[in-house]
Structure formats: C-alpha cells, structure tokens
C-alpha cells in the first residue's frame, strides 16, 4: 500500500464518497466483464466438453503423465541449474583472473541467448551427435536449455549475494589465515546462500514455466498432452483453462514458499537481511547488458 500513500493524501469526506462510488462502479464493470466472458464462451463449457475431465482414462493417459513429464524435466533442471550455477558463481569470484574471466563470459553468453534456441540446439545435438533418438533428445534439449540459462542467473545471484556481504567477513577470514577458497566456501557462501534463498525459489517458478517451451522440440509435457487430448475430444478451451489452473497453482505454491522463507529469514537475527525476491533478481541483473531481464522469462 506504500504506492497509495505516496500518491494520495488521506481522503476527506467528499473524496471518500467519490472513491466509494468509483469502487462500486469498478466492481460492477468487473462483474460485467466476467459475465460477458462467460456468455461469449458458453458454447465451450457444455457438459459434453467438460465430461472428458471426469473420466479416469483422461487423467490416467493424458493429464497425469503430462504433469509427471513436466515435473520431471523441471526437477532435473533445478538440480543441474543449481549445481552449475554455484560452480559458475564461485568461478566468477575466483581470484585467478583467467577462471573468473572465462566464467564471466560464459554467464553473459548463456543469459543473452533465448532459452528456446538453446533447447533446439541441444535437441539436434542429441538427435544427430549423441544419437539419443526421438525419446531422449527432447528431454536433453529441455534440460540443457533450462540449465544453461538458469545456471547463469543463479551464478549472478551468488555473485551479488557474496558482494552484498560486509567486506569485513572476507577480510576476517583471510586475517586468521584461511585461503581465499576456504573464505568463500566456509564464510561467504553460507551467508550468501541464505540471503539469496527467496530469489532462488522465485527462479524455480521460471524453470517450471519454461518447461512448457519443450513442446517446440516434441517434448510430451503437460501442455502437449492437453493439446493432444483437446484435438481428440474437441474441447480445446476447457483443456487449456485446466492447464492454466494447474500451472498457476504450482507456481503460486512455489511463490508462497519463497515469501514464507523470506519472512522467516528477515525475522532471524543472523545473516544479512534478504531483499524482495523480485528486487534481488533485478539487482543481480544490474551492469549486465545483453542478457538482462531474468525476471520476465
């Protein structure tokens, strides 16, 4: 509500009356819009088009396998992204100039390339070079595309997390005789990881959403299964609405976890105060040029 406080004075009697009137008009307009939508799509939500979702076969052969494939590719990508992201992030912080430069260039390149291009590249690498066939190649494409992009975002999170720590933390470690590597792994990283946890969980939402890109390289995920079902049963609008509900529920749950973690962290006294997850991603993107905009993917 801070935006309202900045923009508007505390309302007086006449302003309050006007606000009430406009609010009520707004609710009516909203109801009207919903009604118009319901009327416009009334032919799409008949019992004939909705009944397939009550059959066990629909769930057994289409929706649940699709959901499983989506979650599977997301889960693999999350693990590989975090591992590669930590490696790249630590590499970027390395005191060895060559290592940090190479990691820096890799991060910039992976961020600048659209995820779908990377997926298509690895799909065909899987198909022609590694000969994984029509089964393995789509999964390889989805996982590699998501991993390389999101690892570079996580690497930026690690870097900004370590840089947000007070300098004294690293200096104290060096003063008691630790090597730079020990300082990083046993002093800076644990604190940085705590600070970046909410942003990291927000990034999981991006991974889960982007698995839907897999349909371009024939990965049979939730979206593709719903599309096949809709082609077969002729109920495309209800099928996509159901898909949207499933994605929104999954992602809202992840976002809720991120907020919960953030609240718990800002209550605890130890460690740096973490920022807003979206802000932190933006902060991580400052100074990067071609690959910015992690928050909208």
């Amino acid at each position: 509500m801070s935006a309202q406080n900045v923009l508007f004075d505390h309302p007086g009697p006449s302003a309050r009356q006007r606000n009430t009137i406009i609010t009520v008009v707004g609710w009516l307009a909203l109801l009207g819009l919903l009604g118009a939508l319901a009327w416009g799509f009334r032919a799409e939500f008949t019992s004939a088009k909705l009944s397939p979702f009550l059959e066990a076969g629909t769930w057994q052969f289409y929706i649940l396998p699709g959901l499983l494939a989506t979650l599977q590719s997301a889960a693999i990508s999350v693990v590989t992204s975090i591992v590669l992201g930590l490696l790249l992030g630590c590499g970027r912080l390395s005191p060895v100039r060559a290592v940090s430069n190479v990691c820096g260039v890799l991060v910039e390149v992976f961020r600048a390339i659209p995820v779908l291009l990377m997926m298509i590249l690895w799909y065909y690498i899987g198909l022609y070079v590694l000969v994984l066939g029509r089964e393995g190649s789509p999964l390889l494409g989805v996982v590699m595309g998501l991993t390389l992009y999101n690892a570079s975002v996580i690497a930026e999170l690690v870097r900004s997390g370590v840089h947000s720590l007070p300098r004294g933390q690293g200096e104290a470690g060096l003063a008691i005789g630790m090597t730079p590597g020990q300082v990083l792994t046993s002093i800076q990283l644990p604190q940085a990881l705590t600070a970046m946890l909410p942003s990291l969980i927000s990034q999981l939402v991006v991974i889960l959403k982007d698995t839907a890109l897999g349909s371009a390289i024939l990965y049979v995920d939730l979206l593709k299964q719903l599309q096949d079902l809709a082609t077969y049963r002729g109920n495309i609008i209800p099928a996509f609405v159901l898909g949207a509900i499933m994605y929104i529920l999954l992602n809202s749950a992840l976002t809720a976890v991120a907020h919960q973690v953030q609240r718990r962290l800002s209550r605890s006294q130890r460690g740096p105060r973490p920022g807003n997850p979206e802000r932190a991603v933006e902060a991580a993107a400052v100074g990067v040029v071609a690959g910015r905009g992690a928050d909208a993917d």
Partner: protein, 221 residues
C-alpha cells in the same frame, strides 16, 4: 553454406522477429500502463483486478497463453483478423506476447513508484502543492526515472521471448533455425551461432541504451 543461406531466408525471419518484438513492446507498454495505474489507484475494485491479472498471467507459461490464443481463439473459435494466414499469426502472436509481458511491465512501473520515499510526497504537500501539481512536478518525474531500468529488462526479455512464437509455427528466427537444421544437419552449430548473433544484434543495443538512459536519468539519493 551459400545454399543454406539462400534457402533459409533468415532476413525474412529476422523481419518477423523484429515485428513481433516491436509491436509486442508497444502493446505490452500500453496494457502494462493501464494495469499499473489500476494497481496504484485508490479504488479497491481496480486494485483487485490489477493484482489478479498480474498473479494469474505471471504464473502461466507464455507458451500456454500463445496456444490459447492461436489454437483456441483463432482456430477453434474462428476469431480471425485479416485475410492471409501470416497476418493472423502475427496478430495473435503480438497479442499473446503483449498480454504476458504487460504483467511484468506493470510490476516494473509500480516498482518505480515504490522507489520514491514517502518524505517526497509529504514535502510536496507541505509546500502547498495540490494533487495534480505534486504528481506532475515531484512524484511522476521520479517514478518514471526509477522505472527505466526494470522496464528495459522486461523489453529485453520480451525480445528473447518472441522465440516462443515458433511453437505455433510463426516463421520467425527460432522456427527458421529449426527447419534449416532439419535440411542441413551438418551446419548445426553454424546455424545456431548465426541465429544467436541475430538476437544479440537486437538485445545488445537495447541493453546498452537502457543502461545509458537509466544512469543518465538516475535520481541521486
């Protein structure tokens, strides 16, 4: 290789990507501005609408929105715009990209308002500026400056996300890359680098421009 370049016609694909990106940016900015104004308005009904829009759209994949528009609205319900197929595809592609990114633009604009300390508004009131004047001389200049960097980020992401249009067969760079690789598997890496460079050509100047602009107009606090 010359044969591949001739056959793939990357120039036409680049032009399609450019149109998707530019028209999508215009649509997302307009729609995002409307949503942002609703979000910061003092009317709970409009706030609710804007909040719901942002939550729902941000959490659904762009691919799903695009499928809904093209396979649902266009093909199944017959909502057609224009006569030829490429105009229709472009139209629904732009609509889906605009609707999706408008939610991010709205949040970016709101974050611009949120960067203003409350003291600025209080000071404007204290020296006797009425609502309109304080908005024009104190609040909006700072809000717009604060929003430049996040809006730039969204526009770059939007440019990269135009590739999603390939999933519904719009002939832009990503789908052209796919068909070219099908024809010339031995040129796999070359085609990838070529298309990737096309995107860098689009996003690098945008990024440099917004970095320069946000530094230039930054509010010193």
């Amino acid at each position: 290789m010359a044969e591949m370049l001739e056959r793939a016609d990357f120039l036409a694909a680049f032009w399609m990507t450019l149109r998707l990106a530019v028209l999508g940016t215009v649509g997302a900015l307009l729609l995002g501005m409307v949503v942002a104004i609703m979000r910061v308005s003092p009317f709970t009904s409009l706030q609710f609408f804007a909040r719901t829009y942002v939550t729902l759209i941000r959490n659904s994949p762009l691919t799903l929105i695009l499928f809904f528009c093209v396979f649902g609205l266009q093909n199944s319900l017959g909502m057609r715009v224009g006569d030829d197929l490429s105009t229709q595809n472009l139209f629904w592609g732009v609509v889906a990209i605009s609707v999706y990114h408008a939610s991010f633009i709205a949040e970016a604009l709101r974050s611009g308002v949120n960067t203003i300390p409350l003291g600025q508004a209080e000071a404007a009131r204290a020296i006797g500026l009425p609502f309109g004047a304080s908005l024009r001389h104190v609040i909006m200049p700072q809000a717009v400056r604060g929003a430049v960097a996040p809006v730039g980020n969204v526009i770059i992401a939007l440019t990269k996300n135009t590739t999603v249009a390939a999933t519904v067969g719009i002939a832009e760079l990503a789908s052209r890359m796919k068909t070219s690789i099908e024809f010339f598997p031995n040129l796999l890496y070359l085609i990838f680098v070529l298309v990737a460079v096309c995107f860098v050509v689009l996003t690098l100047p945008t990024g440099l421009f917004f970095t320069w602009l946000s530094r230039k107009v930054a509010v010193q606090r």
